[in-house]
């Protein structure tokens, strides 16, 4: 089917501004991805899953500028023992990174891995699977054009987290990174991500979690106010595997985080959670698609959004239960706390169930600070600001508690507290 002319033009204009990396093991995958992209065309405001989020600035040939954010606090995760992998405006920084060696995991740079590689069977594969039934053209663009990324093959229980740290130093950087994580049977890894990455950031992470293995992912986005980002996680879960991801997003004019998971093995568990803090010129979109294709799997989606001064939050979450996915336990909640009347929350929760023996629930709410709770706290002597912040942190708690490590939970809450404190009158 031919694309409408404006879509075709926009897509070709974007492609023309990019360079397809040549040669190497990834070349066929990149070529396929480019063909996928051309067939779909880049997102347009009329596309079904782009009604609430305007794609223009994410797809334009040139990235809108974003001033560099000067942090006045130490980076998160900085105090813990971890393996650091640093990218500056989307380019790997060997100097700032630790040696890419850690027991239980093989790590390579996408840009370095020119030889035949285990990632060959994976690179672009989960992304391609994730294009149906909903198209994600920016992810295909990523597979085709990604300039760098990290390839990790996890063969055992990795003793410390791997921390992907992003730095944004040029106000016009337009970064495209593609990470691939393959967790082999019995493997277990925690990946942390933080830091402003670029003026505009397109990131894909493909994660293949084998039987009886685990993947834990905690990331923070922000505090760069002018950031635009489209990020994708594509995950495939084997039997009795665990997949947990949590994202804290603060600030950013435009962020679209998609997570597309397929539970392929029985008894797998997937938790996808996020909290975002938006103030003013802020648009944040969580789009999640979880497919249950095996028996007795559990999935949870927990998303909380705190919005003020006209900020906008979007949630589009789907649970698809295939006919044979009996005993599925699916849970989805998306809530927003609107701190004023100007802010808005748009939600599209969806359940599509073809099996008969399942327990799925979903809910979406939008509300202000609970007045009775606020009075109760103030009547005990808590000043209004402190009481409101406490209730706000309580509001996001259900999402933060999806993070298994309590130390990480605390670090996340501290960042949220600091964010609130900066705004307290």
């Amino acid at each position: 089917m031919a694309l409408p002319q404006p879509k075709l033009d926009a897509t070709e204009a974007r492609i023309a501004a990019l360079e397809l990396p040549e040669g190497g093991w990834s070349a066929p995958a990149r070529k396929d991805a480019l063909a996928r992209l051309r067939a779909m065309g880049l997102p347009h405001a009329r596309d079904e899953y782009w009604k609430y989020t305007r794609p223009e600035t994410l797809v334009s040939a040139e990235a809108p500028k974003a001033s560099v954010f000067e942090a006045d606090e130490a980076p998160i995760f900085g105090e813990r023992d971890r393996l650091k992998i640093v990218f500056v405006d989307g380019v790997f920084d060997a100097e700032a990174s630790d040696e890419l060696a850690l027991e239980g995991v093989e790590i390579a740079r996408l840009a370095d891995a020119t030889d035949i590689h285990w990632a060959k069977d994976l690179y672009g594969t989960l992304e391609a699977n994730g294009q149906t039934p909903v198209e994600r053209p920016l992810a295909a663009l990523n597979t085709a054009f990604a300039t760098d990324g990290i390839l990790m093959r996890v063969t055992g229980k990795v003793s410390k987290p791997i921390n992907l740290i992003y730095h944004h130093k040029s106000d016009s950087s337009d970064a495209i990174l593609h990470h691939v994580v393959k967790v082999e049977q019995g493997g277990d890894v925690t990946i942390l991500e933080n830091g402003p990455a670029a003026a505009r950031f397109n990131k894909v992470m493909e994660v293949d979690v084998a039987d009886r293995s685990g993947f834990h992912h905690v990331r923070t986005q922000g505090r760069d106010d002018e950031r635009r980002a489209a990020t994708y996680i594509f995950g495939r879960l084997g039997t009795e595997s665990t997949f947990k991801t949590f994202t804290l997003t603060v600030n950013g004019v435009m962020t679209r985080n998609e997570c597309v998971l397929e539970l392929n093995g029985d008894d797998a568990v997937a938790h996808v959670a996020g909290a975002c803090m938006g103030d003013g010129d802020f648009h944040h979109d969580d789009t999640v698609f979880i497919t249950h294709d095996a028996v007795n799997c559990e999935s949870r989606q927990v998303f909380k959004k705190v919005l003020r001064n006209g900020a906008t939050g979007v949630f589009q979450g789907k649970i698809l239960v295939k006919p044979d996915a009996q005993k599925t336990d699916g849970y989805q909640i998306s809530q927003s706390l609107l701190l004023d009347d100007d802010s808005q929350f748009l939600a599209k929760p969806e359940l599509e169930i073809y099996a008969d023996d399942v327990a799925c629930s979903h809910g979406s709410t939008s509300g202000a600070i609970d007045e009775d709770g606020l009075f109760y706290l103030r009547a005990r002597g808590l000043p209004r600001g402190i009481a409101e912040d406490l209730l706000t942190i309580a509001f996001i708690a259900e999402a933060v508690q999806e993070v298994e490590d309590e130390g990480l939970q605390e670090e996340i809450v501290e960042r949220v507290e600091a964010w609130l404190l900066r705004r307290r009158g």
């Binding site: 609970d370 007045e371 009775d372 709770g373 009075f375 109760y376 706290l377 103030r378 009547a379 005990r380 002597g381 808590l382 000043p383 209004r384 402190i386 009481a387 406490l390 209730l391 942190i393 309580a394 509001f395 708690a397 259900e398």
Partner: protein, 251 residues
Amino acid sequence: MLEIKNLQVKLEEEDKQILKGVDLTVEAGKVHAIMGPNGSGKSTLSYVLSGKDGYEVTDGSAELLGEDLLDMDAEERAAAGLFLAFQYPVEIPGVGNMTFLRTAVNSQRKARGEEEMSSTEFLKVVREKAKSLKIDAEMLKRPVNVGFSGGEKKRNEILQMAMLEPKLCILDETDSGLDVDAMKLVADGVNALRDEGRGFLVITHYQRLLDHIKPDVVHIMHDGRIIKTGGPELALEVENEGYAHLIEEEA
């Protein structure tokens, strides 16, 4: 200590007068009880004194230790020494009971220019007081009032009161929904705080709480006014004969 004069209050949202001129003085060291039929305005009085939104004071005054209460924010009233044990304690999911208590104690201390309580000292004190109210460690860890039984909520109110050491304690139907044992615990908690420098305003329907917390003065409230004031014998009279004859006398 607490001096209320001709207090008249209407709802902010609708044209409904609820308190129609309340006069009441509670002296330091004394326990005053307010009894009265449902809907007479007892909870409204306690809310207006503690600073809840939604009410408009159309006339009269209320002072605590000579300070104009009605001019203060709710948190300032708390720091000035006012405490309300809620008729319906509010559930606050996501806020741990301990965090809440410590923040409350230290917010008040800070507002009064006093030194904050260290976490070790706080833990020691809270454990001790919780124990005497039969509040276990588990309850202290849970989110404020969430999943608490009616009796647990009321005991939690008394624990907060014990930790905050207010000057004037208002108890709004703290006895309702309590079995005999729980009522005894609550009464013991209140009695332990009785002190020459502290005043109590105990709102109740029943004589039975007053068997445990002996009042000095009993007031009967009806239709937004105090219609009769007397000694402890007035509570017994209500217990035996109900409010009807008092209301008739008044009319």
